[in-house]
Symmetry: D3
Subunit: 297 residues, 6 copies
């Protein structure tokens, strides 16, 4: 549609299809890229002529990044390990909120099972989606065991179909609902932004990869931060800054009234409920919290 | 999950189940507490180890706060009255927007009914969910009447099943749709944050209750406020401040250009549409309105 | 409901029903007016006693504005043209984002059709919803053709039912899916805010119309803008301002530390992904992007 | 997909898009043809190599049947009249249930309007989707009036935008909700199966059209009929047949017990609730009602 | 709409609003009455001029039937008991399937509670929706206890808010999910069709009530029955009838082939999976199962 | 819940989770078994004490049937082959409708690819979910190729990520939408009911397996059949039976009128639209089609 020659894309992005698809699009939107998928095509449209991309299953992203079909991509640490993919881990893409636990791949048995340690599984069978990782785990411990690929619904297979499973869990609630007991944790995982080694060595590609990483992280950072501004009597400033370490680096501006100053800072949303009452006690007024789109330190 | 001993909750919160459930969770989220309910359990998870809670029907919150099963809770003024609950009313949780009317419990009859005043109902029957309140209302007026508990759909019961009803209404549109006429208003109501008397007397609990109240109100306040910032020529400042009383207490900062200053303030969203054209006329430039999460004066 | 005499509305607004209805309500909400429609009535409730309104089909708004039943209204440029309505075009209501193409009414034939120019359609039949405009187009070119009103699903009518169609398209994807080829563009269109000529001549009405226009545009403007603030070393200021033209007019405030200054500005969201990495390279710190509700220059 | 030459379709069917689309597919399914539409194409797939078809708006079906683009089609009588289409009306496709009123196009004014008869509208304006029909109606009565095409939501245009409307109604409830009063009925309408005159004259096409008509009507008929079977003592047969005229033509089969016979018949579902208690009183046993797919007398 | 005088309804029906509303409408539809509710009105439309009706809460139906506002109605046995309503129980409306247990109101405590018998609750508190019934239960056993009305979510109140609850359960799965233990069953309940005593004494009303009861039960009966027909060699008939008692009363018809007969009968759907293989072994052929709408013996 | 000892299940059923889950439950329901799954547990409840079951992925059913964890199960022929499972194929579970093509696993390349035959893929890479089957296919043809496991969305991988794919297709429409060309068909597949060899050798288990097979097939058969009954003049019988072979084996019953007979038969629904008009021409009357639940010859 038009004779204008479009610039050739610099990067081919590998994006995870399935459960992470929508959150990936949402994260890129916050970072500044609109990734549109249509029901008629699996090729996303990205509003940046320097970027092209494909959605494939999260399990496969690292394989195709390693092979160079993708210059970079998003996937979980678990699948990088499972595929033994030789890629550059550019950055983590995790929420900084302390209360969010990483997802873990855990070895589980029924609550009532006599199995207490991995060794007790010698000669038994375990089902998992992460076959290579589980085989390595037991081989390292010299425990002979049959590891069987599970196509899904792994948690319902014990004890009828297999003796133990290795499955992923975030809060453990699904395991509890299936009356399973955790014997060991094999792997902690979270989303990573990874790059192909040759693409990373190419200065033009690397610069673009780093720009994307900067903005993805800036958007993620902003999800757990808020802006806070207030007016305070000058004499209260020291008390405020001492009492509230989280405020240690505020922007302080003069106000027209010489005895008052304006403070402005960025803090973790999770501490606002503690800090705000303290600020009021210390004499701050007109305290306002506002939302952020991106935060880059 | 882990041997770390968790701090004992300081407060047990009573939360209203049903029509207010979602908005209550949303309000607490804005205030800074994430209340998660799962379909498998009615016990909410609150991301604050000092808080535990339960969802019960709004009708019952004040009863259990009075008895001390809850230290504090959210419920309507109507049900505090109906239950004659002896509790501390910590604060109102209402939107400050002038145009929003409070909900009212009203005595209604069919449009065509000959009944014009409460007295005309002597010897008749009235259905309501608020039996005690309605009985008191007629007893105070010495009008003999049969008051019958209505399990719901009260507005369709007149004139076939009862002679009048006492039902809740916000805009009156449901009453009009059922061709009902309001004879009298018995009670105005809105959401209250209430506390048990003994909990309120305990300094640790009271401090926590006040913190919650401060942040709930800060979040509610922010829903009807916006931030406004602009640059203005210094010479226009007085005119601006005089012409626009709502701006009377702005943060005024110097700019690099000596003839200009930056103004920033918080105002009611509802007056922006009047103020913004005036500001432009008076010489303000680069006027920007931005959203707020919390406002505490 | 109450004996208080309400002020008489100053303006009657014509609002587009159908596909634009929800986005119109959302745009007015951002501008500061809450337009509520109920399923029981087509008369919207507007929270401004000076405004009344009606939802009619977008095709009819300009007709009723011209006749004076509406003082002003929102509709597309296409339907103003189709109806040859004599109205005041107060302002465009379009997104300023460069990547968004305007919608176009295009003359299309099947990909495999021998028709290459409008002239090739002489003696043929074309279906369209925009009958008058299409007739004028062919009359201007002195091409004899039968133009037939299409009630919808126009794109499936070629080649079985007609030889060509004139239909609206934004990205062309629906045309490509139906294997159609564009022969010519007849009209570009976007949403306009229009006014009746007599209402525009009335100073009171015109002032209110201009206020609405100012705020609608302020809200639209804010959708593609974001606020950006950062701290920077004073010595980097010139480099920053030179390197990044989009930042040319920032609010610059002193900070307590004499070597640092605070910069704040409003920029297009679409350039943030380029500017933010540059700012960091040039020494800016604590870069924060935040969302806006309205922007008025 | 395959070199087998498919038979050329005998008939091109015109099918109504929009509100009738789903019920049309459902009716054809009951009649024995599966019409599949995909989101990727407006061309339906019909599981009969002798049939091809297109979905167009109900308003246009008769026009394209008349022109011969369709051999036959389904549309309303109202649009055949509005388009003055010269087509064969093969059969009605209406439910035989007595309680279902036909849809009517009615001339309406606001309840409070002084207009009582069509004549009172002389010199006024009326809005309608059925412009030609309404013009003819007033011309026949020599009443001068301006008739204006309404793109929809016609019922909300009175009295603000026009003086009267002509709109379609089934039960009148939407008119009452908009506080409109019916002045006159212009047209009753229901779905018709129509054919092109030349197609009807072609024996092969006509035979296929008649087959479709037979099965569509057989399917419609079955929607209001049920099968009823029972055993009865022979001596009660006359009483049963006399008492219940609807049973006058049953299939009567002998049973192994010589004093009893089996009756089986097809009756209107709507009379079962009256007939069944009577049958039991008269001695029938084992009365069973079962559903039907098609009924052809 | 029309001057025809409509017949006065004979009966006023009380219908249960809420969880039973949809299934009640569906049951009446199968029985032969279409009950239509609109979002604009709580008065249902019933396609039988002899019937009028109202939807009220199931808890209130028996009260209004007793008072004579309704001639008859549908409600649960539990609420008839709770209200101590003096009404005629016309018939049960339950599914005959053996595997469906009736709903039960059960006294529950937490699994870990020391309470084992009702006596152990002396001096404690119990919450329930069925206050009168529970008070009677404990009074009969001379156990002093405080019974408190629960507005809902009763199962989450133990042990935090009360010591025990009396709640309704069908399968017990919700109780198990809340880790409750059943101490005793107070009441079994199912849906009843009830009548006012005066209406039942009126021959015209009673006849209509009985007709409705007959058809409601005929429709319910059909939900668990199917029709079965087959051909069988005459010589196998005795073996078939002996082997399969459920077939003991079939309709047997002669066929054109003198050695074969046709059998037809109505049986419980739940036994088909056992009977069908047996029938085939015994020589039956062309065995067909078909669905039923109503069965009246 | 109760001290009654329940019979031990005779069979453990393997049921396919995922895309086939709902249709499997629906098929068993038609056959006479209610399989209930709850969101709280993956163990289905089956209303037959002789049956227990588990839902696992279709890919795994044959593996667990072979190992004896399941006595029998439903899965596709493709996965039996892929797993090289040694199981008894009890019966096919396919719709008999001629127009329904079996699903096929096909080797595909992009439309524009130079690859025309499997041999052209020597040295290339192919992605598939059916790795073993594809490896065998190329090994049999001595074509060296890299076969890579695809986790899904296989059809979007060519040509960017791999050279060819082997994917499943029913109608080919998804392949066409992705602009793929079929090079060869590797496997046709449909659902099979399979059994473990030891279970099949056990007479009690085998009898139960055969009963299930009989009823599943009876239910499937009924989906494409309908019952047809009519009255006909005796003299027309031969003509009817000759003209319409599908009616060759009807049940013929005498009627009370000696010149007429009743015909009843079961025929393919797909031929009704041809047969019904013929029957009417030949003198049949009162032709009725009714639905069936099960058909066992």
């Amino acid at each position: 549609m038009g004779a204008v020659s479009e610039p050739k894309p610099i990067l081919m992005l590998g994006l995870p299809k399935g459960s992470l698809e929508e959150s990936t699009q949402s994260l890129f939107a916050k970072a500044g890229w609109k990734i549109t998928t249509s029901s008629r095509s699996y090729k996303p449209v990205i509003d940046d002529p320097e970027l092209d991309g494909r959605f494939v299953r999260a399990q496969e992203v690292s394989r195709y990044v390693e092979h160079g079909f993708f210059d970079c991509g998003l996937t979980g640490y678990d699948w990088i390990q499972e595929n033994s993919s030789d890629v550059v881990e550019v950055c983590d893409l995790v929420y900084s909120r302390a209360s969010v636990r990483k997802s873990r791949w855990v070895l589980c048995v029924p609550e009532a099972s006599p199995i207490q340690r991995p060794e007790d599984l010698a000669g038994k069978r375990v089902a998992t989606e992460l076959v290579n990782t589980v085989k390595r785990y037991f081989a390292d411990r010299k425990i002979p065991i049959e590891v069987e690929f599970s196509w899904g619904a792994t948690e319902v297979k014990v004890p009828d179909l297999v003796d133990a499973i290795v499955d992923i869990t975030e809060t453990g609630s699904s395991l509890r609902a299936n009356k399973l007991r955790i014997v060991d944790t094999l792997l902690e995982t979270n989303t990573k932004f990874i790059a192909n080694r040759r693409s990373w060595a190419d200065p033009v590609k690397r610069k673009k990869i780093e720009t994307i990483a900067l903005l993805l992280r800036g958007a993620l950072e902003a999800e757990t931060k808020v802006g806070l501004k207030m007016n305070a009597p000058k004499r209260a400033l020291d008390a405020i800054l001492q009492a509230i370490p989280a405020l240690r680096n505020p922007t302080i501006s003069p106000l027209s009234h010489p005895d008052w100053i304006a403070l402005e800072t960025i803090i973790d949303e999770s501490v606002v409920r503690e800090i705000l009452p303290r600020l009021k006690e210390l004499g701050a007024e007109g305290i306002v919290e506002y939302p952020l789109n991106k935060v880059v330190y």
